[in-house]
């Protein structure tokens, strides 16, 4: 039941926030913070009391912590089935945490239709939580669609100069590819129907289906393309730079921090376990795609002059590591992929908050118009430096753990591809440090009289810095949570390396 409430509180809170605008312009923000805090408490409670209990779902694996299953459309075997294990717990915690950050960072940025803004924000988050929790493929698809529409509105209404183009592009890319996924889901259910004569959309029922290899490959590709578009991986990535550049800060935070992770989660939870053989035969192309994303994303990031666009391309580069990690499919690479999801969630969200803060202050995102801002905004500059360093994979911070584990694992799967992926480590400082150089260092062009980070921004950045360092020096606390899950998946599907 808690799982249901996790999502429902946000939906309810969204409505309340919309309505609350009548009570004052700051009211929706407070309401959103309140419901997210409530969610965070629930998550913390689950985390503290989490002892994976046995066989909750009836599925073969036994790593589920909580399970909620009621019949929904029984005629087609569709259930409202939510379940949580260590992996989803980590991602749910990330979502709620970044949700609070997103609310806090748009405190002064959003002045119009504040209530509706928060409604959309909370509904997106609810959709994301649903995606991380749903164990019924129909329900999963439902949440998958549900998170896109409020996100689309966030970009289209509160975005920047070119918002309509960007939001429609975002919508089309995700919509067209999720159609492929829908087809694949239906195909999968139909195969099961032919085998057993009953309908079921349940994850546990659809695992271990006997599939014709050719059909299996096609169905897997349906899922794969949908998830890789969301990730995004080259060549399905071009919606991301536009969406990020145009989105309001909170939109970018949610987009980079958690929305992209739904793609990674999908690959991990659905693509490989549902289609083990097809996924294995597709591993080399998928890892190649990951390596291409790493290098191409880095190359494109280097070419940018728009801060937000640059950070967007770095996301593509970092997500490439996740793709490599998932398709290398061994304990190191999988743990690495999960750590990268979490660490990149924090670091890229922080970088987008910084980019947003710069835009709020300078009314431009063009790095050519900036320079020498350090003495004016030392706190902002130092924090930007911290997260750039984190993003380039400095040991002791979260991203390093993720990328290092991915590479140590993928090295066993494919030496050549890993060596190419490692080139991303050389590329990372090239693009990361350029931001610092062009924005904060160098000669000051003119005095802007900017205001530095205040108490609100320092608080939220403080939380993110602590999270980043925690992930870097004691990742074990998170690895322990995801370990039983990944071990189960690893048992379920064994790649013959």
């Amino acid at each position: 039941m808690i799982l249901f409430w996790l999502i429902f509180i946000l939906l309810l809170g969204g409505g309340l926030a919309w309505y609350g605008e009548r009570r004052g312009p700051k009211m929706p923000g407070w309401i959103s913070l309140g419901v997210l805090a409530l969610d965070l408490l629930l998550v913390a409670g689950i985390w503290i009391g989490s002892e994976p209990s046995l066989a909750l779902t009836g599925a073969q694996d036994a790593s589920w912590i909580l399970d909620f299953n009621v019949a929904w459309i029984s005629r087609f075997g569709i259930n409202f089935h939510l379940a949580l294990d260590g992996l989803s717990l980590l991602l749910v915690a990330l979502t709620v945490f970044l949700g609070m950050m997103a609310v806090a960072c748009s405190w002064t940025e959003i002045t119009e239709r504040v209530g509706f803004f928060h409604f959309n924000l909370l509904w997106t988050l609810a959709g994301v939580l649903g995606v991380f929790l749903a164990l019924d493929l129909f329900l999963f698809f439902f949440f998958w669609e549900m998170m896109i529409i409020p996100m689309f509105l966030l970009i289209a209404i509160w975005g920047h100069e070119n918002r309509i183009y960007a939001s429609i592009k975002f919508f089309l890319f995700t919509q067209v590819t999720s159609l492929l996924m829908l087809a694949a889901i239906l195909g999968l259910v139909y195969v099961r129907y032919k085998n057993t004569g009953t309908f079921s959309f349940d994850y546990g029922d659809l695992l271990n289906l006997q599939l014709d290899p050719a059909l299996s490959l096609w169905l897997m590709l349906g899922f794969f393309i949908a998830f890789v578009t969301k990730l995004p991986g080259v060549p399905f990535h071009t919606w991301l730079p536009d969406a990020h550049t145009q989105a309001p800060t909170a939109g970018s935070v949610i987009l980079a921090g958690v929305l992209l992770k739904t793609g990674a989660y999908g690959l991990l939870r659905f693509v490989v376990p549902l289609f083990p053989d097809a996924a294995q035969s597709f591993a080399t192309p998928a890892m190649t795609l990951g390596v291409v994303s790493i290098l191409y994303g880095a190359h494109m990031a280097f070419a940018q002059t728009d801060v937000k666009r640059l950070v967007a391309y770095t996301s593509i580069s970092h997500m490439g590591f996740i793709l490599v990690g998932i398709f290398a499919w061994n304990e190191w690479a999988l743990q690495g992929a999960v750590m990268t999801m979490l660490a990149h969630g924090i670091s890229s969200a922080a970088l987008f908050i910084i980019a947003g803060a710069l835009q709020e202050r300078m009314h431009t995102r063009d790095m050519r118009c900036m320079g020498g801002l350090w003495p004016e905004v030392p706190r902002l500059a130092a924090i930007a430096l911290f997260f750039s360093i984190a993003a380039l994979g400095m040991p002791g911070l979260g991203n390093f753990i993720g990328e290092f584990l991915v590479l140590i694992g993928s090295y066993r799967a494919d030496v050549t591809l890993t060596v190419f992926a490692s080139l991303g480590l050389i590329a990372a400082p090239v693009y990361s440090l350029i931001v610092i150089q062009k924005v904060f260092h160098a000669e000051q062009r003119e005095t802007h009289r900017l205001w530095d980070f205040g108490r609100r921004e320092m608080t939220l950045m403080g939380f993110m810095i602590v999270a980043m360092v925690w992930m870097g020096v004691y990742p074990q606390s998170m690895l322990d949570l995801s370990e039983p899950v990944l071990e189960n998946l690893d048992q379920l599907v064994r790649f013959r390396n």
């Binding site: 190359h299 190191w332 002791g396 390093f400 140590i408 150089q437 990742p475």
Partner: protein, 614 residues
Amino acid sequence: MLQFLWLVPTLPLLGFLVLVLTEGKLPNKTVQTIGVGSVFGSALLSAMIGIEFLGSPTSAYIQTLWTWMEVGPFKPQISLYLDHLSLIMLFVITGVGFLIHLYSAGFMEEDPGYSRFFSYMNLFVFAMLILVLGDNLVLLFLGWEGVGLCSYLLIGFWYTNADYGYAARKAFVVTRVGDTAMAVGLFFLFMHLETLQIQPLMEKAASEWPVGSALPAIAAALLLGGAIGKSAQFPLQVWLPDAMAGPTPISALIHAATMVTAGVYLVARTHVLFELAPDVQFAVAVIATITLLISGFTALTQTDIKRILAYSTISQIGYMFLGLGVGAWSAAIFHLMTHAFFKALLFLGAGGVIHCFHHEHDIFKMGGLGRNLPVTFASFLIGGAALSALPFTSGHYSKDEILLTAFHSGGYGPWFWFAGVVGAFVTVIYTFRLIFIAFFGPKIHDVDEHFDGRMRIPLLILCVLALLGGLVQMPLDSVFHQESEIVHAQGFDWVEAITTGVPLAGLVAAYLVFLKGAFKPETILATNWGRSLQQFWYCGWGMDALYIFLFVRPIEWLAVVNRNDIVDSLYNGVAAFSRICYQGLAWTQTGRLRWYAAGMIVGGVLVIGLGGMQ
């Protein structure tokens, strides 16, 4: 005392945290107390730990703090490993580090970024200590990257100058190339030996891999990649001369005494792998020889006081690598230590010159400084003598040990020795060229030495160390079990005589050329080939130009060409195609009945016609 080992790196880390969290709002006095005090604390603690450790019979002490991450058999811990090798490094880092911190307290007094400077410095000391104390390669890698980061931050410390920023990024990226090779080396080692904890790893390698087989060669070569990046060896040495953009104490601490020698430490730490891979060890010696010669010749042509010292550092690290290459492990570490003393001294002396000379770097604009800057002068004389390996200085003992071991190492040993001796000759020439031009001769400007105790005392202590540091016995027998021993010949040994004599000959030559004017270097420069040779050496043998041509330009070109993402044009193509279809269809919708009727008739005829053909 040993149980307080964790405090040694923690103190500077705390200093860093305090300085960062107070956002530079503390007065300079407090900053100085925290910044210098934390490193002083570490130094004191290291000394006490060292005394206890040397007095005890144990050969290693391990302190495990917590498990960093555990994924299957991959289980790096936050664990400190102290043996005689890390102890020497500990002494050098905290000892010389403290002296340089003290010096900086005076040197940076006027700088608005005083607090920021000390926070970076403290972070550096922390990272460097982790590097040498890490008990597994992943933790070592943390320190390794950490010192690289601090090096970046401190080279670009005066960030308003875009060139300095460029130099800083260049240093970071070039060393990162090596670091990436090293990271791949770690993946490789873990895949084959299932652990990254250094001591078990070495034992496993020694027991599982035969000497001369391919696997240890690959592992050693990859680690060597990291070492040559960090230690500025050929072909990754290009970043170090530019790194001189940082404040001079940085050059002394990071780019002379500690960080740049991390590569030497890494190779010494993993010497078992290199012993298993004689080919790679030979490559180390070759790289070292190339490096020490080309950078020595480059130093001859420089005019910037710091760049001369920078090239000299590259060259001296070349000697350390030569030691590693011929199996003189402890001699290499010995030279690392003495070099830390005399090169720190020289850099701090150079800092004094620059400090008193209003940021002038060109030695030809100096002259006759000897009388005005007595302490600096003494520093340069002693430091220069040690750098030149003149008899009875610390540099003499360490360098001779390396060269003699090289000679006796068999195979190409004598050739390495010969190259080393030529390099030693060049070293004296460029060192005393600097000293004679800047400190002797006619006075060009009047300057005075306005040092306070904070700057004078470190110089004096380092003078003593540079002179007497050679008397220290390296207690490294428990670390390096099989050493190439120097075979001392009976009676007169001409090899020893030449090795010792060449620096003296160099001194005489430098005296004749630069002080007496017996031979004018300008006569060489007047000739065409002399001029182009000077140019070639001056720009570091064209390596920068080569890399710009090979890597920088193509990448920049690609970035400009593809700024709008070629992949997007694919989707724009889809959009354009739909638009054309739409326009085509819209064009048919004319609203004229006869067009519609004609269309229907033509269509009908076509359909029937096609049906008839079936």
